[in-house]
Amino acid sequence: MDWANLFSIALGAILVNNFIVAQFLGICPFMGVSKKVETASGMGMAVIFVMGLASAICWPINRFILEPFNLTFMQTVTFILVIASLVQFIEMFLQKAMPALYEALGVYLPLITTNCAVLGVVLQNTQNSYGFIESVVYGVTGGVGFLLVIVLFASIRERMEFSEWPKAFDGFPIALVAAGLIALSFMGFSGLKVVF
C-alpha cells in the first residue's frame, strides 16, 4: 500500500483540486443548499457518502464490464445510469434499514442524483487510471472537500444576511461574488505538492 500516494490524492481532492472551487463541479447544490450551515453540512455528508460509494461501485463496472467490451467511450452514459440507480437504491435501503442515517442524509440524497461532482469523481477515477482503493479514497476525500467548501460558504452567507449591498446584487449575484472570492482564496493551494 502506497500511503504517500493516497495522502497526496486526498490532499489534492480536498484542497488543490477541490471539486467546487477549482473544478466548478457540483455548483448547483453549492448555490442551492448553502443558505444555512445546518443544511449545508447535511448535504456535504451525503455527498461524501455517495461519492465514496459511487467510486466503489463504478470502478468494478468500468474494469470488468466496460473495458472488456471496449465500451469505455460509453463511460459517461453508463455512470449516469449507475449513479442514478445507486442513489435511488441507497435512499430506499437507508429509509428501511437505518432510519437515523436516513433522517440525517435522506432528504439530500435525491438532489445528489444529478450532482455533477459525483459523475466527475467517477470519470476522473478512470481518466487517472486509479486502482480500487485510490478511487474510493479520491471519492471520499473529494466529498470532504465539498463539505469543507459548502460549510465555509454557508457560514459566509449567514453572515452576509446582516450586511448591505447594492439592491441589484440581491440574492444569487452577491452569493456568486462571495463564491468567486472563496475560489480565489483556494487558488493559494495550487502548486501544493507532497514530497516524500
Binding site: 447544490p29 442551492g32 443544511t39 463496472i61 445510469l81 449507475v82 437504491f89 430506499m92 432528504v107 435525491p110
Partner: protein, 310 residues
C-alpha cells in the same frame, strides 16, 4: 455499413440495456422490500410542488421542503417557483390539520389617522418602499404611520391585506401568516401575532414619539400615558419607548385596556369598544343564563330519572 462499427454499436446497446434492466429490477425489488410508510401530507405536498428541485426555498429539493412543511418546520409559501397557486394548495392541506396549533395573524399597528397630516405632497411611485426613502420617511406627518401605498398588498400572495382608507387592513380569514408583508413594510408596522379567534386584542399604533408630538400629528396615536398598562389585570402590557406593547402569552382578551385607552387605539376583534365601563351590562345577561342553566339541568335529570322509573 462497416460491420465492425455495427458490432460495436450493438454490443454497446445490449450491455447498456442489460445494465439498465438489472438496475431497474433491483430498484423495483427494493421499492417493495424497503417500503416505508410516510406522512400522507408529505406526499400530497410533494405532488403539488413543481418538482424542479431548484433549492430556492433553502431546503434540499422539493421532497425536503415537503417534509419540512409536513413537519410544520417551514412556511407554506416558500416555494418561489410554484408561486401563490402552489402556496394556496399547500395551505389548504396544512390548514386543515394545522388548525390545532396557534394560528398567527399579521397585525397592522396603525390606525391610519395620520393620513390627515402631511409634510408635503408626494407624487412619486405608488410604492411605500420608494416613498419611505424620501426625507422624513415619506409624506406622512407621523414618522411611524402607514403610508398607504400598498406595498404589502402587492407582496401578499394570498390577497389578504388591502389598503382601506389609507391604512393597510388584514383579512383574518385569508391571512396565512406567511410574513411577506412584515418583511416588505418599510415602516415595520406589521408583525405576526398569535391570533385568538375570540377577543383578539391589538394595539394599532407604532409611534415612539412623545405624547405631545403624537397629539399634534394623529387623533388616536399612542401617547404613552400608560393607562392600559396599569389597568391590565395580567400585566400583559408593557411600555416600550413611549409605546404600549402587548405580551400575547399573558393577554386573556378581557379588553379592559381597550376601554381605558383615551386614544381609542386598542381594538378587540378589530373594533374599538365603548370607552364607558361595560361591566354591569355583560354581567347581567351573563348572570341570567347561569341561573337558568341549573334549572334546565334539573329538568333534564328529572326527565331522565322519570324515564328510568318507567
Amino acid at each position: 455499413m462497416n460491420p465492425e462499427l455495427l458490432r460495436a454499436a450493438i454490443i454497446a446497446v445490449v450491455v447498456l440495456a442489460a445494465l439498465g434492466a438489472i438496475f431497474g429490477l433491483v430498484l423495483a425489488f427494493a421499492a417493495k422490500a424497503f417500503a416505508v410508510e410516510k406522512d400522507p401530507r408529505e406526499e400530497a405536498i410533494a405532488g403539488i410542488l413543481p418538482g424542479a428541485n431548484c433549492g430556492g426555498c433553502g431546503f434540499p429539493g422539493c421532497g425536503g421542503y415537503a417534509a419540512a412543511v409536513a413537519a410544520g418546520k417551514a412556511p407554506v409559501n416558500a416555494c418561489a417557483a410554484g408561486g401563490a397557486a402552489v402556496a394556496d394548495k399547500i395551505g389548504e392541506i396544512m390548514g386543515v390539520s394545522a388548525g390545532a396549533s396557534v394560528k398567527m395573524l399579521a397585525q397592522v399597528h396603525c390606525t391610519g389617522c395620520g393620513q390627515n397630516t402631511k409634510k408635503y405632497d408626494y407624487v412619486g411611485l405608488q410604492d411605500c418602499v420608494a416613498a419611505s426613502i424620501l426625507p422624513g420617511g415619506g409624506d406622512l406627518g407621523c414618522g411611524f404611520g402607514c403610508l398607504g401605498l400598498g406595498s404589502c398588498e402587492k407582496a401578499c400572495p394570498f390577497d389578504a391585506i388591502h389598503v382601506v382608507d389609507g391604512v393597510a387592513k388584514v383579512d383574518e380569514e385569508k391571512c396565512k401568516s406567511c410574513g411577506k408583508c412584515v418583511d416588505t413594510c418599510p415602516k415595520h408596522l406589521i408583525s405576526l401575532v398569535p391570533y385568538k379567534t375570540k377577543r383578539h386584542v391589538a394595539i394599532t399604533c407604532s409611534s415612539h414619539d412623545k405624547g405631545p408630538d403624537v397629539r399634534k400629528l394623529c387623533e388616536n396615536g399612542c401617547i404613552g400615558c400608560t393607562l392600559c398598562a396599569k389597568a391590565c389585570p395580567k400585566e400583559a402590557i408593557s411600555m416600550v419607548n413611549n409605546l404600549a406593547v402587548i405580551d400575547y402569552d399573558k393577554c386573556i382578551g378581557c379588553g379592559i385596556c381597550a376601554q381605558k385607552c383615551p386614544r381609542k387605539l386598542i381594538t378587540v376583534d378589530g373594533k374599538v369598544p365603548e370607552p364607558k365601563p361595560q361591566a354591569p351590562k355583560p354581567a347581567a345577561p351573563a348572570a341570567a343564563p347561569k341561573a337558568e342553566e341549573p334549572a334546565k339541568k334539573e329538568e333534564v335529570s328529572a326527565a331522565a330519572s322519570g324515564e328510568q322509573n318507567v
